[in-house]
């Protein structure tokens, strides 16, 4: 296993990469990506510099929700390969110092899962209480409907059992009943099965909804936290404490905070509200949305970490913004109604930013320098486009674009066999946007991403440091200090499309010559008076602030070293 990131809290320094098996590389030419193909492309990921792969659901599933409807927790979906091929992939990843976590859907199963089939068929059998059944569809009336575009209710009538079953998501995804100890035991067994194979952890899907209670929103309940703490304790005890649990809890930070517990629940949780505010700040050309959300982000236990992302496999969710902000976001980023889905925008990073290289790099720079562990969505490192005319969220799940060869180098299958068509439009199509071409262009987005990730890896300050926003009068400039131990990094970002000056109050660093990390350029020394920087359109700086005297402090071994 890797000697890099061997600390138990390795996830605090890691850069994650979210990848869908079906979308990355087709190893057997059937038009669907698989573990053989993913294994072939591990060197690409290692060269990109990421540390941990987050693999979207790869379990046996009818795929009515792209694998988030699991029909067998112990099997790999046949289209993606076999358990043996998964194991080879995992071992090959580890051999390249890459860790791997997979999605685990804890809240529900597919309605095809044998547990549900048994539960609906036999109301008195051993699986009868594995799901949440009711004679009425009026229980838990305060629980909101999440997929408002697809479902009218959280309950669906099952004619076989003659009862309603609860589903917080699609009606083919019945909620498991976590009040039943047998369910908790079975889910722990599922986790053990994969952790025993060497998996480094789970991204736990939809965790706020595990337990329901009447008269509540059925989200974030203490009983849900108790279940999650129980799982964490078992995993820590049995696997030595270096496996990571990442919570998907699409909530406000103060509500997500509870999922860290006292450092005894989840290691990581996504910072959902940050993502839309990054886009908002960019469109408004002012730093306020970013600074505000950090003002409202509570501190988390020392061993815990936020997961940051610009885009993922879902829509760019706008649940965590105000109605006014949402309206503005729709106006700014989704003028075509096809781009909207639920309370979000189903677009990839590059199209959201009009394929503007400067803005794409700026947002990636923020992703890599704000407090938390960044998560890169596959294809966004080369600026892949989307296809809003594909259904649901398929538009952002199209095949990875490796080259200008047939099917973007993703598969040797016939074009019509592909699980989804490759992006083929003139701007984002695979002939214009692909790995092979970008690898040959020193200034390509791919190579810029490699440089940014490599720079981030040079210091733990990015993953572990505190953040302190400076307040330059120019609102278009975001400036913050990240500090960890003796290291201090100054981040400056111009959120506007025009060059901007900013005067930064850096008096405490007077005498220091900032060193720009990405280029190694030494800047003029800081004085007690405000430090003037000029930043180009959507430009950014990562400065290292080192005191000249730092190297002169003794280690305590000098006088006796020999």
């Amino acid at each position: 296993m890797s000697r890099r990131l061997t600390a138990r809290d390795w996830y605090k320094d890691a850069v994650f990469y979210e990848v869908h098996v079906k979308a990355f590389m087709d190893g057997n030419g059937d038009g669907v990506g698989d573990f053989v193909g993913l294994t072939e492309r591990l060197d690409y990921l290692a060269e990109l510099g990421v540390d941990c792969l987050w693999v979207l659901p790869m379990y046996a599933s009818p795929l009515r929700d792209d694998g988030y409807d699991i029909a067998d927790f112990y099997a790999v979906h046949p289209a993606y390969g076999t358990l043996e091929e998964f194991q080879k992939f995992l071992d090959a990843a580890h051999a390249r110092d890459l860790r791997v976590i997979t999605d685990l859907v804890m809240n529900h199963t597919s309605d095809q899962h044998p547990w549900f089939q048994a539960s609906r068929s036999d109301p008195t059998g051993p699986y009868a209480d594995y799901y949440v059944w009711s004679g009425t569809n009026r229980r838990y009336a305060d629980a909101r409907v999440i997929f408002v575009d697809a479902e009218a209710s959280n309950w669906t009538w099952d004619p076989r059992r003659n009862a309603y079953y609860l589903h917080r998501f699609f009606s083919h995804q019945p909620d498991l009943n976590y009040d039943n100890p047998a369910v908790r035991r079975r889910m722990l067994d599922v986790m053990r099965f994969w952790l025993d194979r060497g998996l480094d952890g789970f991204r736990c899907d939809a965790v706020p909804y595990l337990v329901e209670r009447e008269g509540t929103s059925c989200e974030n309940l203490p009983e849900t936290h108790a279940v999650l703490k129980e799982f964490r304790a078992v995993i820590d005890r049995e696997y030595g404490g270096d496996r990571v649990l990442l919570a998907e809890a699409n909530q406000w930070p103060e509500d997500v905070r509870a999922y860290f517990g006292d450092g005894d629940e989840f290691h990581m949780a996504f910072h959902f509200p940050l993502m839309p505010r990054l886009y908002l700040a960019l469109r408004l050309e002012e730093r306020r949305p970013i600074v505000d959300i950090y003002t409202h982000t509570p501190p988390i236990p020392p061993a815990c970490q936020w997961g940051l992302f610009l885009r993922n496999h879902d829509e760019l969710t706008l649940e965590m913004v105000t109605n006014e902000e949402r309206a503005f976001m729709y106006y700014a980023y989704a003028q075509d109604p096809e781009m909207k889905l639920n309370l979000g925008i189903r677009r990839r990073l590059a199209p959201l930013l009009d394929n503007d290289g400067r803005r794409i790099e700026l947002l990636n720079s923020l992703l890599l320098t704000l407090p938390g562990s960044p998560i890169v969505y596959y294809g966004d490192e080369i600026g892949m486009g989307d296809n809003v005319y594909l259904g649901d969220r398929d538009g952002v799940r199209t095949p990875m674009q490796w080259s200008r060869d047939r099917n973007a180098g993703f598969s040797t299958a016939e074009e019509g066999q592909l699980y989804l068509p490759v992006i083929a439009d003139p701007v984002y199509g695979y002939q214009a946007v692909n790995v092979a071409a970008q690898a040959r262009q020193p200034a390509s987005l791919l190579n810029t991403m490699k440089r940014l990730i490599a720079a981030r890896r040079t210091s733990p300050v990015f993953g572990r440091g505190t953040i302190e926003f400076l307040r330059p009068r120019n609102q278009k400039v975001l400036a913050c200090l990240r500090r960890y131990g003796r290291e201090t990094v100054l981040i400056v970002a111009n959120l506007s499309g025009a060059p901007q000056p900013a005067e930064l109050d850096l008096g405490e660093f007077a005498g220091i010559r900032p060193v720009e990390i990405l280029g190694g350029t030494v800047f003029p020394p800081i004085q007690v008076t405000p430090y003037l920087v000029s930043v180009g359109p959507h430009g950014f700086y990562w400065f290292r602030l080192e005191r000249p005297g730092d190297a002169d402090e003794p280690y305590g071994i000098e006088s006796t070293a020999i």
Binding site: D9, T560, I562
Partner: protein, 419 residues
Amino acid sequence: MTDRLQAPAFPAEVERQLEGASPCEIALGVLTYNNATTVPTVVEVVRTGLERHFAGIPAVLINADAGSSDATPDLLAAAGLPLVRARHETPLAQRIAVPFHGVPGRGAALRLTFAVARRLGARALVLLEADVTSAGAEWLRHLLRPVLEQKADLVVPVYARHRYDGTLTNLVLAPLVRALFGRRLHQPLAGAAALSARLLDRLLDDPRWPAPGQNQTDLWIEATAIVDGFAVWEAWLGRRRAESRTRTADLPTMVAQAVGGLFAVMGRYDDLWLEIRGSEPVPATDAPVIPSVEPVALDVDRMVDAFRRGLRDLGAIWEHILAPETLGDVLSLDTASPARLAFPDELWARVVYDFALGYHYNVVYRDHLLRSLVPLYLGRTAAFVVATRDRDAGAAEAHLDAVGAAFERHKRYLVERWR
């Protein structure tokens, strides 16, 4: 053409002194450079040590001075012994920046001292450091008796130290000497020593006396003595406290000089070590002294910071020096939390061997190469402290023994790459 050197022709001033000098059995060599504040201690050690342990045995004091501008040579006369004063040539650079051992031109000074001692017929020569203020009369006994009475040819001191003293010695020099020459010397650059007439003759007769200015002489003497089958001993002395206003205290300079000296010896005298396998402990005059473990002010966080800065800034240099696998393993070390930093012994051995090879093949300017070792040494030192600070002195000793064993085990790695 031979590079065999003639026995040094003494400077006229020294020759004049020798012409009138009586033969001696014991010679006491003191190499000096502006040590007026501390030589009275040395004088006292010489006087009382001879009186107490070697009364009646003819002795002479030899002072090789590097051009002191204070009263150092005059103060040595207070010992009341016959004194031979010999000024020796000193490289200008070493007079401006005095090396870690405190004596500019130490090699030339040693050679001159050895030659004077043999000219006067000494059976044994003891070398004392002019700026060590903790020496006692017993030190003379511990160093000289094995030579005079037990047929030892080279006696090297082992000072009582704190477990975190001598980290460069313990983590680099001693493991390397152990692997190269097959003897587990605790402190190869201890400064003081005692030598037999036999060994002095052998050394003076050697045509490959080290070039001046490279800090190779002490290590070359030890290597020659070991490889030629001379009896090498260790003498356990007390604490060593040096009060020097001239020795460099700059860590990178120290590393460059000490490690560079050893690398230079490896290059010039590879016939002395390429064939050697395994190692043996060195006989000692007394029982070993357990290192002390009282808390000391070490800044492990700063060491790890320096290591991190090295990882960040020195990749371009290390790419030339370290083998790709070694570099990959170094870059993979987890430095996020100083409290958990670990530096595997096998990797450390490969790092030092790669640096030795880089020095040998001159892959980058040698001073840059040596100085770029410093962050790695600090990282390794931090890992040593982290691994042992909550444990007893025995654990630190065991840790260091494992480091030496790893160097020995992986010597093949070095030999196979050495041409």
